[in-house]
Homo-oligomer: 152 residues x 8
C-alpha cells in the first residue's frame, strides 16, 4: 500500500494534530492526514456566513453543523484509520459522535485522551483498537502499523 | 408493518424512558421498545462480576464496556428508529457515540435534550430527523410516524 | 414467502391506493401494504405542531419534511416492492425522490402514471421493472408477481 | 485527500454548471467535477440513434433514458458530494430521482433552487446537508468543505 | 432457526421441484420452498397480457422478463439457500443468470444437473457448495444441512 | 426484542454446548441457540455419503466441508451473537475461521477457552467483546446481555 | 472521472473484443478495458497444469474454473461497466452467470448478442441498460456514456 | 487493471513470502504485495512497548493483538486477493481467523499448506479458490490470474 489515510478527529484547541503530523513526518511515515476544519469561529459561523443569517440560534447552529458534516462524513468514510482525541475542555460530543460513526463503518479506531477521562470514555475506548494517553503514542502506533517497526 | 422497533439510548438517571414508553402505551402505538441496561452499578461492574476481577480500573471499565456493547450494538442494528436522550448531568459520551453509530447505519435518529444543550450538540442534532425538548414530544413524533395522525 | 410487503409511494390526492388495496384484497393476495401518511395537512404541519412553531416557512417545511422522512425512509427500506404513482397535479418531486431512493436500494420498482407523463418520467420509468397506466394494472402485476397467475 | 469528486446533477438549460465550475476554478479548489450529458437533444435521441429506431415514443424514451442511466448511475456512485439543481422550468423528475438515489447511497447532498420552490422541494431539502439559492453559494459551500476557509 | 427458506431456480419442464418438495416433506424438514412462476406460457406472455400488447417481439419479451424479475429478484434475496437446476433442454441462460446473482449476494448455492453438463457448467459449479446429479441428492443435502443428520 | 439468536461455534468433543443451553434454559433466557452439526463422523463423511465416493481424500474432505459450510455460513449470518469455543484438543482451525468470519460480518463475538490458550488465541480474543474461561461464564454474559441483570 | 473501467465478459471465439477495444481506441475514449483470460486451452487446463493432475474430469474442470474465478470475480467487482457478449456457439452459461453476478452487484450492464437470441436471453436483457446487436453499437454506447457525444 | 494487491497472511517463520514475492518479481507480474508485520518479537511486544506495561499477560497480549489488528484488518480489506499460508508449527489460529475474515468479505482466497494438513484445514480449503502445496504454485496461480498465461 503506497500510503495510508488517517483522519484526525476531535479536540481543536490544542496542538495535538501538529504533534501527530510532525511526529509522523519526522519518521517519514507513508501517511496522508485529513482533519475537520479546525477554525472554531468558521466552524460555528459557516452556515449563516454562506447560506444567510438566522434569527434562531438553533438554526444557525444547525446550518453550520450540516456544512461541517459534509467534510467530516466524507473524510471519515475515506479514511483507513480514524484517530479521535478527547481533551479536558468542552463537551466534545462531536468527537464521540465521530467515534461511533467510525466504529459503525468498521474503521480501525485509535482513541487519545488523558487517563482521568477513562471512566466516562469507557464505551468509546471499548470500540478502539488502541487507547493512547499522548499524541506521541499515537505516532508510535502509526509507525508500528504502517511500517511494522517499533521505536529504537 | 405490524410493529416498529424503537431503541431508547442515552440518559439513565431520569424517568424519560418511562415517560416515552407509557405515553406510547397510552396511545396504543404499535411499537416495541428496546434499551440498554439501565442499572448504573451493573453497567459499571458487569465485566469484573462475570469475567473476573481486575487490579487496573482501565481494564475493569474495558471489560464492562465491552459487555454492554454486545447488547447496545445488537439492539441498535435491529432498531427501526433510534432515540438518543441527553440530560444535564455527566459526560454522556456513550450517548453521542450511539448517535454516531446509528447515523452511520442510516437509522432515522430522534434526539431529545434540553434547549441549553443545543450548541454543544449541534453536530448530533444535524444528523437527526427530529430534535425534541421533552419526552412527550418524542411520543408525539412516534405517534405521527407510526400512525400518520397528529394529537387532537 | 408468507407475505409480501408493498410500499405505495406518491400521489395522495386521488383514490389510487384504495383501488390497489381493494383490488388486491378482492383477490386475496398475500400482501401487506404500507404507505406514507396521506393527510396532506398533517404532512405539511406536523413539524411545527409537534416540535414548536417557526417564523420562517423554510424551517416549518424542513421540520415537517424530516418527520415525514422518518416514516418514509423506514417503510421504503422494509418494503419488498415499491410502487410509485404520479398523477397529473403538483410537482411530485417527493415521489421521484422516493423512486430514486428505492432504485438505489435495489428494490423492485413499479411505476404508475398516465401515458402523457411518459417523456418527463423517462428516467424514472427506466429504473422500473413495470410501468403501469392504471391502478388496476398495478393489481394485476402484484397478482402475477405474488401468485404466478394471470387474470382470467 | 488530493481531490474531491463533485457530481452536478439537474437542470441543463441554464449556465449554473459553468458558474459553479468557474467559481471553483477561480478559487483553485481541489475538485474534479462530473456531470450528466447536458446536450438535451442527444439525451433524448441517444437510444434510437445508437440502438435502432422505435415506432413507439415510450420505447424511444426508454432506450435513451437507460443509456443516460449508465452514465448517471456510475458518476453518482463515484461522487464524494452530489449537487442537485432545480430551475424554474420543466418537471425535473430526474433531478429529484438523482437526489433520492444519492440520499439512499449516503452521499452528502447539496441542493440548489430558487426560494419559491421551497415548499414542493421540502422532502428533497430535508435530505440535504446544504440548501443554496444560487450557484455562487454552492461554490462557497465547496470552498468551505474542501479547504475549511470562508470567503473574505 | 425455525425454518429455512430455499429458492428453487431453473428448469421448469420437468418434475424436479415436486421431487425436491415432496422429498423434503416426507422427511418433515423445516423448509419453506419458494420458486419462480413455473407456467411457461404465463411467463412468456405476462408483460403484454397485463401492460398492453407490443408489435415488437423484443419489447414483448422485455416487458414479460421484467415482471418475472420482480418475483425472481425478491425471492432470491430472501432465500437462505438457492438451488439451481439445469436440465437437458433449452438454453437456460436465466438459470445461469440466477446462479450468478445468488453467488454475488453470497447465498449458499446448490447446483443440480446431469453429469454430461459438467464441462459447460464448470464456472457455475465452481461457485456452488454442492453439485448434485439428482433431485434426490438435493433433498439429502437439505436434510443434512437443516438437521445435521444423514440418511439411514 | 422477543428473542436473541446465539450461534455456538467450535469444539464438538465436550459438553460445553449442553452446559450453555441448559444454563440459559434454567434462567429462562430469551435465546434461540443454533449450532453446526456436532456429529463428527457425519461431518467428515457427509460429502461422499450424499454426493458420491471419492478416491482422493482431499476431495472427500472438500465435498464434506462445503456441505458443512452451507449450514455454518447461513447460521453465522443469521445470528445476533456468535460464541466460539476452543478446547484443548485438535487444530480447531474451523473455529478460528468462524471467528474471523463473524468478526468481518460485525457480529458481537464471545470467545470461550481455557486460560493456557491465551497467547496463541490473542488475535481471536482481540476481536471479541467477551473472553470467557468457562461455559458458565458464557451463560452469565448471555444473561446480562439479554436481560440487563447480573447473577445474585 | 479520468478513466472508466469496462469489463468485457463472454464469447471468446470471435474478434468482438478487438472490435470494441479498437473502436474505442480510434475514438480515443477514456476507457481501460479488462477481460477474462481468452485462451480457451489455458482456461480449461489451468487447474491441473498448476495445481496437479486429476483423474476425474469433474475435479479437473472444478480446479480450473475456480482459478478462472479469481480473475473474473475480481475484475467484475472493479469494473464501472460490464459488457456481456453472447455468440451463436456453445452453452455460454458462464456469460449468463457473469451477467447475473454483475446485476446483483448493481453494475450497469450492456448486453451484446445477435437478434435471434432475444427470446432465450430475455431475462438477461431485462437486467441490462443497453442491448446491442453488434460490437460497433457497444462502442457507440461507450462513446456516448463516457463523453456525452453521439456519432457524427 | 494496472496492478493487483495481494495480501500474504499466515506463517511468519519460513521464507515463503520471499519465495512468492521473488517469484512474482522474476516474472514481472503486476502485483503489489502487502503483509502483516513479520517480526515475531515486535508482534508480541508492541502493545506494552508503545502503550505501557501490563502485569497480566492477558492484557499484554490483548493490547499487542489489537495493534496488529489495525494493520491486518486494513490490509485485508484493501486486498484484491488474499493468500493464507499454514506451516507445520504453532497453532496458527490467526491465519485461520484471517481466512475467515477474508471469506466473509468475499475476497478471492488462495490457501497454501503441506498436504498433511488437508484434513484439519478442510473448512478453510473449502472457502478457497485455490489450494496450493508450495509457494511456487502460489506464484503460478498469480501469474495465471494476473496475465492469463500459463508457465512454459
Amino acid at each position: 500500500m503506497s500510503a495510508w489515510t488517517v483522519y484526525l478527529s476531535g479536540e481543536i484547541h490544542s496542538d495535538w494534530r501538529e504533534r501527530v503530523v510532525e511526529g509522523a513526518s519526522a519518521l517519514d511515515l507513508p501517511i496522508v492526514f485529513t482533519a475537520p476544519g479546525t477554525d472554531h469561529d468558521a466552524s460555528d459561523n459557516c452556515g449563516v456566513a454562506i447560506l444567510g443569517s438566522e434569527t434562531s440560534s438553533f438554526w444557525k447552529d444547525h446550518k453550520g453543523a450540516k456544512l461541517n458534516g459534509i467534510r467530516t462524513r466524507t473524510l471519515l468514510e475515506k479514511a483507513d484509520i480514524v484517530v479521535v482525541r478527547f481533551g479536558d475542555r468542552y463537551k466534545q460530543w462531536n468527537a464521540a459522535f465521530d467515534a461511533g460513526y467510525a466504529a459503525a463503518l468498521g474503521k480501525p479506531l485509535i482513541v487519545n485522551h488523558p487517563p482521568d477521562l477513562t471512566h466516562p470514555l469507557k464505551e468509546v475506548d471499548a470500540a478502539a483498537l488502541a487507547v493512547c494517553e499522548t499524541p506521541e503514542q499515537v505516532v508510535e502506533v502509526l509507525r508500528y502499523v504502517t511500517t511494522g517497526a517499533l521505536a529504537g
